[in-house]
Amino acid sequence: MLENIRLSFQGILSHKMRSFLTMLGIIIGIAAIIAIVSTIQGTNKQIEQNLIGSGDNNVDVQLYQGDYVLDFSYEPIPAGIPVIAQEVLEEIRQQEHVEDASLYRKRQDYDGVYYRDTSLSGGYVYGVDSRYFSACGLMMKKGRGFSSEDYAKSKKVCILDKNSEKVLFEGADAVGKTIELRGEPFVVVGVVTEKEAFEPVISTMDEYYTYMEQSSGAVYLPDTVWPIIYQYDEPQSLVLKAETTSDMTSVGKNAADLLNGYLSAEDSSIQYKAEDLMEQAKQIQQLSQSTNMMLIWIAGISLLVGGIGVMNIMLVSVTERTAEIGLKKAIGARKSYILGQFLTEAVVLTSIGGIAGVAAGIILSQIISRANGIPAQISIPALILSVVFSMAIGIIFGLLPSYKAANLDPIEALRHE
């Protein structure tokens, strides 16, 4: 075997130009596949990151009626839906892989938030408990957070995020100013921002809708103030912080199951459901994947052409070396040895092509990444698979020429000059 590999290199090196041109088909095919796979993986990673954010691993658990989130700004609270008690929240915090959990209420307010004449139209108002900011990966940019006194005395204070500060105050400092919320005055005590600056890359309308919510501005209130401007006994939503991204699905489902145990609404379609961002990411990924599969097939055709090139040159090589084959048979080489020798040569040829193709593919994907701004994610299994695949091409397309060589009639072969 080693002897065969050595002989193969000898043969390949003695025809450098021919060997390179033969490999070129394999190189191009493998390079194209590596570049496509890297781009797909990069895009997938990007979709995941855009949806999940900068790694806060947050899962929202909200009340749904069928497929829609229950919105209490339009509908009365149905009977049989209790407010989530502090003990239940504690129980959720004890569940496996839950790092933190917090309760909140949320309302999209189109005409309720004003600073002087400026409206925060379409912004969200949140009533949050004391652990909400840390659970969601938000930190104070300026001012202070809510104090226990704010909660205890239901003080009319609020915290803005940087989007709502920008819209309402147009760049001026909001801390200490008073805004109007449903006709009530609220003092801005602080401004929060994400711990890790994360700017999603938006390239489609779907992505735009997904991120619009995050960018339309938010006003946070202590949850004890909520009843003053909205209503009493409104069921909360839950935000979970999972330990790892891969825990998100299971953590959300467990919490939703627990909360559903407390429901006794007549309408059984009212249920807590976890918003599964991983699932959403997968769906979007699948969409982009199916188009990219086409590209892989097209690149596969170039590999096929490359393989035919290998077969062609191997057939030429067999003809050229007819006398050599005849002699080897005459001095005692078995058919299987001749077969192995030519097969090894084909596999060595395509393997070198495969490795060169992988190198070219990595370079190509970096170039594509620079040009399009799509990050390329080089996948090690894909690299290994490509080299293995190019070896397989060597075997498949080397088989016919090798078989031909092995079955040459030694007398005919020896007569051949």
Partner: protein, 228 residues
């Protein structure tokens, strides 16, 4: 008896035309004999040689090599016979052009599955036997015709075959290196190697202890040998 061919017939087919090449050829060769087969080209010498060398099968007849019936063997066993029992020397040497003399001599040992170290040792010994131990690393292009033929003989001898078959071994050589090769064959024969040689050069044929003539696919013996 090393070779025992009885009533060998060989027909070739040209399109639908049957061309008989060997017609009822019988040949016995004993251990240590030096046999020359002479005859004009087209008389069937090479075909007979190919049959003896297990490269070709006769249309009819029986063939025993060292007491073993060759004609019933399959391809794989035939390669083993060629590897271990027969050594081939050709007119045009048939060396691998990109491999050194030593590597060329090693080839049959590779097929025999012998380890690399042992291969080198045995190949060097074979090169010494033909007087080329100082040319071991030379490529065929760096060797003269006579030297190339010596390398080919070393390769044929390296597995210690029962019989050495030579097809016009001096045909591509000048007379001086030709006679050196003939001396080598003599030396090998006196060392006990059985040789069957094809030639159309009467002078060379006479050096053998037994000369057979092939005419039109029929073999006839001029000089009396031991067992016929």
């Amino acid at each position: 008896m090393i070779l025992n061919l009885q009533n060998i017939y060989k027909d070739y087919y040209q399109d639908k035309l049957v061309v008989p090449v060997l017609k009822d050829v019988s040949l016995q060769v004993y251990e240590g004999e030096y046999v020359a087969i002479m005859g004009p080209s087209g008389s069937g010498k090479t075909t007979l040689m190919n049959i003896i060398g297990c490269l070709d099968r006769p249309t009819n007849g029986t063939y025993e090599l060292d007491g073993r019936n060759i004609l019933g063997l399959n391809d794989k066993t035939l390669s083993e016979v060629r590897l271990n029992s027969v050594g081939f020397v050709f007119q045009n040497f048939q060396l691998m052009p990109r491999q050194s003399a030593l590597e060329n001599v090693c080839l049959p040992l590779v097929y025999a599955g012998i380890k690399k170290k042992e291969r080198k040792k045995r190949a060097m010994a074979a090169l010494e036997r033909v007087g080329l131990e100082d040319r071991a690393e030379f490529k065929p292009t760096q060797l003269s015709g006579g030297q190339k033929q010596r390398v080919a003989i070393a390769r044929a001898m390296v597995n210690h075959p029962k019989i050495l078959l030579a097809d016009e071994p001096t045909g591509a050589l000048d007379s001086k290196s030709g006679s050196q090769i003939m001396e080598l064959f003599h030396k090998l024969n006196t060392e006990g190697v059985t040789i069957v040689m094809i030639t159309h050069d009467a002078r060379i044929g006479e050096e053998a202890e037994r000369t057979l003539h092939m005419i039109d696919g029929m073999l006839s013996e001029k000089k009396e040998g031991r067992g016929v």
